[in-house]
Symmetry: C2
Subunit: 424 residues, 2 copies
């Protein structure tokens, strides 16, 4: 592919990125929900996340800026363009974390966007189009399912009513928690959900080992693998553990554990290094030492770059739920279902040219994780930029990236956003 030529001010924007300022701001955000072990606990729409939202809207102020919020509690800042009638170039990510997450997942992309705007200010650069930096609501999906609610609702507002009815495992309604988040940032102007976007570029940590293992400092992300989430309920019958003979039990915990064991064996038997098969949640009722369980709910997270492999593994799952549940009965509900997402060649060209401009080694790769960019790709040209993850660790307190790589990513993002926002 021949890379597009970047305008000379793209270098100016890149050079104006203030690395120490950016890292300090990123660390400041990590203190909201920060843990002694270096991790961050800041699940979507919690009090902690609302405090982080309040901090965020104080970070960028000025005549050229407006903070906005929508009905999905997406929170963003808009930097005015020379032509305010044009669709904005958009960047960002999310500030919510897993129950125990790292300091970079999501936060990196939001703070990288803010630093690019500051760099443009410092360099005295305006852009033809407005630039918007988004903090999408509930990307992680750990507190409210499914994940990426904010960007999903942005791409298709008809999804919002279903999301509003979602409940956390503790019984909190998304709608109620959304209202608390909206009330936390009263200075943000309320805008309708969803609007035209010229292009979307999201910076993120890789959350995998590819870049570190290959010695690259940047990754140009050409696609996101497909993902399917299932919510499975195994119905048995509770009974006394001391008196009920083994042979007459309908033990939901045993049936569910055996399903997890066998389905994992079936996944491994495919010997496919790209397949991801995970049971991350497993909830037992009544959960008492001396009572045979009458119900287990567990989740399956299935991912692969190819739709045909997803189909085959889903068929294996559905067959096992009927054939291998013993005396129990299983229900299976879809929580999420996304085909592999290819990114836009034109945006990828600009991203790759910007990566080259940094002078650091880079490569193309696919994303193992899903991201808000997955839904934005439904409504505008989109792509992503990765920086390395140390040992590929993420969704873990030990998640980390060298500061130099974090800064290189912001520099590439600055050149990319300026180019996309200033072009004719």
């Amino acid at each position: 592919m021949t890379l597009p030529a970047l305008p000379p001010q793209a270098s100016t924007a890149m050079s104006a990125v203030n690395g120490p300022r950016f890292v300090a701001d990123l660390r400041a955000l990590s203190r909201f929900g920060g843990r002694d072990d270096g991790g961050v606990s800041r699940e979507a729409l919690t009090d902690t996340e609302c405090q982080a939202r309040q901090w965020l809207v104080q970070q960028l102020q000025g005549a050229q800026y407006q903070w906005r919020v929508d009905d999905a509690a997406n929170l963003w800042v808009r930097r005015a363009g020379r032509d305010e009638n044009l669709a904005p170039v958009m960047t960002g990510s999310h500030i919510d974390t897993q129950p125990v997450g790292g300091w970079l997942d999501g936060a990196y992309g939001v703070m990288a966007g803010l630093e690019v705007l500051r760099a443009l200010d410092d360099a005295g650069l305006s852009t033809r189009r407005p630039i918007e930096v988004m903090a999408w609501t509930n990307e992680e999906g750990s507190r409210f399912g499914p994940g990426a609610m904010g960007s999903s609702a942005f791409a298709d507002a008809t999804r919002l009513p279903t999301f509003l009815a979602a409940k956390s495992p503790q019984g909190d309604a998304f709608a109620t928690e959304r209202d608390k988040a909206l009330a936390a940032t009263p200075s943000a102007v309320h805008h309708p959900l969803g609007h035209a976007v010229h292009a979307y570029v999201e910076a993120h940590i890789e959350q995998g080992p590819v870049l570190e293992d290959g010695g690259q400092r940047l990754g140009v992300v050409t696609f996101i693998q497909g993902v399917r989430w299932f919510d499975i309920t195994v119905h048995g019958s509770s009974a006394h553990a001391g008196t009920t003979p083994m042979g007459v039990r309908q033990d939901a915990l045993l049936a569910a554990a055996s399903l997890v064991h066998r389905l994992h064996a079936a996944a491994m038997a495919r010997q496919d290094p790209d397949l991801r098969w995970t049971v991350g949640r497993f909830e037992v009722s009544p959960g008492s030492v001396n009572t045979v369980a009458d119900r287990v709910r567990f989740t399956v997270d299935l991912r692969h770059p190819q739709e045909a492999v997803l189909d085959a593994m889903e068929a294996t799952l559905r067959t096992a739920l009927v054939a291998d549940a013993g005396a129990c009965r299983c229900d299976c509900r879809d929580l999420m279902r996304r085909a592999p997402t290819p990114f836009d060649p034109r945006v990828l060209g600009v991203l790759e040219a910007a990566a080259q401009l940094t002078g650091e080694p880079y490569r193309q790769l696919g994303s193992g994780a899903f991201h808000d960019a997955m839904y934005l790709a439904d409504v505008c040209p989109a792509a992503m930029l990765f920086v390395p993850s140390h040992r590929g660790i993420s969704h873990n307190a030990a998640e980390d990236t060298p500061e130099a790589d974090l800064i290189t990513g912001v520099r590439a993002l600055a050149a990319t956003l300026f180019t996309l926002a200033d072009a004719n």
Copy 2:
């Protein structure tokens, strides 16, 4: 075995049992924590159980009665004997339930004891020894481990400090909840923990299918099988479900599920109908759809009438925790450990004579469940009386027993308690 002759007033006491009054009182107790499905949720020392305690102390009042409570929050009523210096005959059970339990487990034995005292009053019968009807604290062990804390501490008060430090899965301390329970019944006189007991007889539902299957209406319980509880923690490492290759994971949930699957297979391979092997609790951290679990805690409940079989299964467990946990590491902690408990031949003789006196079919059998009588057997002659459980179901909202059988049990208990309490 030649059965002992019962005194003539044993028949008088039996005849004075008021069946409808007893059933009405038992149903009244079941309304504390009563559920629409017929089950009862009244875990130990909860507000609901404290309300049931308040109701209980209102049930039996009079000059011959005193309600008492001790440092383990055991709550009991004492009916005066003609010689108050003699050790009392004791009966009772517990009023706490599983998270979702039935209406009879425990409650039956407590209310049966109260009805016997009322029947003695109605028949104008006094006894040489006092009679005490106990409601033992936290028999179920579902909210605070181990089970049977109240009777265990009664038998050996040195166990109490450890129990006071126990915490519920929600983090409530037993000591704090105990204090709330003590405050709930201020009219009960505080007595030191543990005292001499002449004999203990506990009435209970069978919680198994033996009596119903055999057409017997009463069971004379000659022993309780041995029980061991283990609390196992599997340590892995959290990771992103979409990006982390399957081969490099330390997935605590997968390791735990595979252990449950394999250990169950090992238990079944023994083809021993008396073996009970149950995993009832299985808690996952962080418990998020798209995060590989870093920790699972699960319990094992192991029971058998023979100590040698318990030893063999425990060895299988401990070997598997080292050999079959894959990339994870396991800890195993003892929660409870009790050898099989034989009951007292003399008390069994009186019980069997009383069962015969009812005219209903009865048999001897062992108890699959443990009971407070297990700890009382450490400090006094003890035995138990069972009534049938419909389809053997217990620890389940569907737990039930025909009213006629419930009343037959109280009649046998009345003859037994009078005989034991009035003998020289």
